[in-house]
């Protein structure tokens, strides 16, 4: 099974090698800059690998971003859990209990996924203020749960479409109702659906910035806002923003590297492909 070395394969592999270098460059740059002593960071020598590794930037950045990381963790876990559970229930109805007009309702749901969120920002801000939820994490969680409904319902609807309807029919003949079919048949089969949806929601909510900056006060800022403030400061040397970027990226990168298959499935499901 040895492949012949042809002009085509040389071309293929060399093109791929160039592309790999280009795609990895930002990660390389972030890592070496984070590992340099602040005094060694100069623009002309930005590409050089540091002679001695300085890990203290990470602990310093962690110290500064810790409150934001804690906020993001609470926010992401709560909002992901709530929106996936609701999405699962919605997906179950949209795929197995269609009612007249359910396709229209579903399409109207999907629309919510594509709107630029600026268009709901002012009323959202006002509503949260009126509900006394402005500034803290509960308001942000509410926003993420509501605007996560379209995508979670979509992923679960497509996932449940694969469960044979005959299974539901026979359970119904045996006398099972709406909720008992869900708890006994559909929910136990849902584990892969939950994995895909939670990973998708986790990365989206972790990475979100607009609501984080508009709807929370300083003490409740998520990690993206904390990082933007850290990186926006003029006096800060570049090692801290780079270390901070790596810290902010690690949770989602870990998910992506170890559970990439599910991540990609969420990605494809998010493109409304059925």
């Amino acid at each position: 099974m040895t492949r012949k070395i042809t002009l085509g394969s040389v071309l293929l592999y060399s093109t791929l090698a160039v592309l790999v270098i280009v795609y990895l460059t930002p990660a390389y740059m972030a890592l070496i800059t984070a590992l340099k002593m602040p005094a060694d960071i100069t623009l002309p020598r930005a590409w050089e690998i540091p002679a001695t590794l300085n890990w203290s930037s990470f602990s310093e950045a962690f110290g500064m971003l810790r409150p934001n990381l804690v906020n993001s963790l609470i926010l992401t876990i709560c909002a992901t859990a709530l929106s996936t559970v609701l999405g699962s229930l919605n997906g179950y109805v949209f795929s197995k209990w269609k009612f007249p007009g359910s396709e229209i309702v579903f399409t109207l749901f999907l629309f919510g996924m594509f709107i630029p969120y600026q268009v709901i920002l002012i009323p959202l801000f006002q509503t949260l203020r009126a509900m006394n939820l402005y500034g803290g994490l509960p308001g942000l969680i509410l926003a993420h749960v509501v605007y996560g409904l379209p995508i979670t319902s979509l992923i679960f609807r497509n996932f449940y479409a694969q469960i044979p309807t005959a299974l539901i029919e026979s359970a119904r003949l045996d006398g099972a109702g709406f909720f008992s079919i869900y708890t006994r048949i559909v929910f136990p089969l849902s584990v892969p659906g939950f994995v895909v949806t939670s990973l998708w929601q986790f990365t989206q909510i972790w990475n979100e910035f607009l609501w984080g900056i508009c709807l929370t006060k300083y003490t409740a800022n998520p990690i993206t806002v904390g990082l933007a403030q850290l990186a926006g400061g003029q006096a800060v040397s570049w090692n801290l923003p780079m270390a901070g970027s790596i810290l902010a990226a690690i949770p989602v990168l870990a998910i992506y590297v170890f559970l990439g298959r599910y991540f990609i499935r969420g990605l494809l499901a998010g493109s409304v492909k059925e």
Partner: protein, 373 residues
């Protein structure tokens, strides 16, 4: 039979909370933003407990497009258009190219896919922070050529004041008519295969006629604005476009790769038997078959580029006018300048632009679903 209908009611009731939430938080809020955009809510009194608000109709929109103070919004709008077009071309083109390379099943395909797709998992704030460093004028990308014995570049990636493809906003009417003519011609070309006479009569000839008429008599049209106001493609946005392409080309790659894998081996073999080269196979068989994927990619990327906010915020800061974007402008207008009504009007303009892509897409996918069930 009664049991079934009671279950259907239960199903509907289970969905009801979500329906109410979406109805209020999506549709209600959009309606509310439309309403706010027609008030004069802003300025000093904006944060008062009970501000007095007056209805001003479309005055805010009128100001945005022709007013003296809102030139920045118009530049941002122009930026957003160039930004979307270049992002679409770059991300779809490069993503498709990498997908074709990976479809050759090179060794280490899994590793390669991981490398090309990892930027997608990052936050725009992370991407922006890192790329700002990469595009620093005296370092980063600009000194790469020196490693190969070349000259140092001096391009100001994120702060260049240079603009190309300038046009005069004062001539807004002719510009819009040109756009309309262009759209008619494009539609006509698409219809040409299916129904040539209709395409010719309805789209091509009127489009050409309109274009020629504006070209000949455009100077006679009334000018909206009394001073010349030029807008163009700011070169400072190139850095942002580059970073976005880096982040999203892996996404289009994943879409195309999934599509290529879905094409049956038989079809590929058949194409080979008919004498198609590799290039011919992709050009005439695979890529045309994946038209739905191209359409989804265009929809997703255009809505991402229209709401782009975090990346620009992280790369050039909120106050850099050269790389501005309506989404960022909306944030600044609303939450920094407290001009709520004007911010709402910007949001509605953005929303309408996005809806132009989304609504036809959702309608067609709804029709498909109904046809299937």
């Amino acid at each position: 039979m009664r049991e079934v209908s009671r279950d259907k009611i239960k199903a509907f009731l289970a969905l009801l909370p979500s329906i109410i939430l979406i109805a209020v938080f999506v549709y209600g809020f959009i309606g509310n933003t439309v309403w706010i955009s027609m008030l004069d809510w802003g300025g000093v009194g904006a944060l008062a407990e009970n501000p007095t608000l007056n209805f001003v109709g479309v005055q805010n929109y009128f100001d945005l497009f022709t007013g003296f103070l809102d030139g920045r919004f118009r530049q941002d709008l122009v930026n957003a258009v160039y930004y979307s077009v270049l992002l679409l071309a770059g991300a779809v083109g490069i993503g498709m190219f990498i997908a074709i390379l990976l479809d050759r099943k090179p060794r280490g395909e899994d590793f390669l896919r991981t490398v090309f797709l990892y930027p997608m998992s990052l936050s725009f704030i992370v991407t922006g922070t890192i790329w700002r460093w990469l595009l620093a004028p005296q370092g980063g990308v600009n000194i790469v050529p020196t490693f190969f014995g070349g000259e140092k570049l001096s391009f100001q990636w994120l702060s260049s004041k240079q603009a190309v493809l300038l046009f005069n906003w004062q001539n807004l009417l002719p510009v819009m008519l040109y756009v309309a003519a262009f759209v008619l011609i494009v539609i006509g070309l698409f219809c040409l295969k299916g129904n040539p006479p209709r395409a010719l009569k309805r789209y091509l000839l009127p489009g050409l006629g309109l274009g020629v008429a504006v070209w000949l008599f455009g100077d006679l049209l009334p000018q909206i604005y009394f001073m010349e106001e030029t807008h163009g493609f700011n070169l400072a946005t190139l850095g942002i476009i580059l970073a976005t392409i880096w982040q999203y080309s892996g996404y289009t790659m994943a879409l195309y790769l999934a599509g290529f894998n879905g094409i049956s081996q038989d079809l590929m073999d058949a194409a080979r038997l008919d004498g198609a080269s590799d290039w011919g196979y992709y050009r005439h068989v695979a890529i045309p078959m994946l038209k739905p994927i191209t359409i989804s990619a265009v929809i997703i990327l255009s809505h991402i580029s229209l709401k782009m906010f975090d990346l620009i915020f992280a790369m050039t800061g909120p106050d850099n006018a050269e790389t501005g974007h309506p989404a960022l402008n909306m944030y600044l207008t609303t939450f920094r300048a407290n001009e709520f009504s004007k911010g709402a009007a910007i949001a509605i303009v953005l929303f309408l632009l996005a809806a132009m892509f989304i609504v036809p897409y959702l309608v067609s996918s709804y029709r498909q679903r109904r046809a299937r069930s």
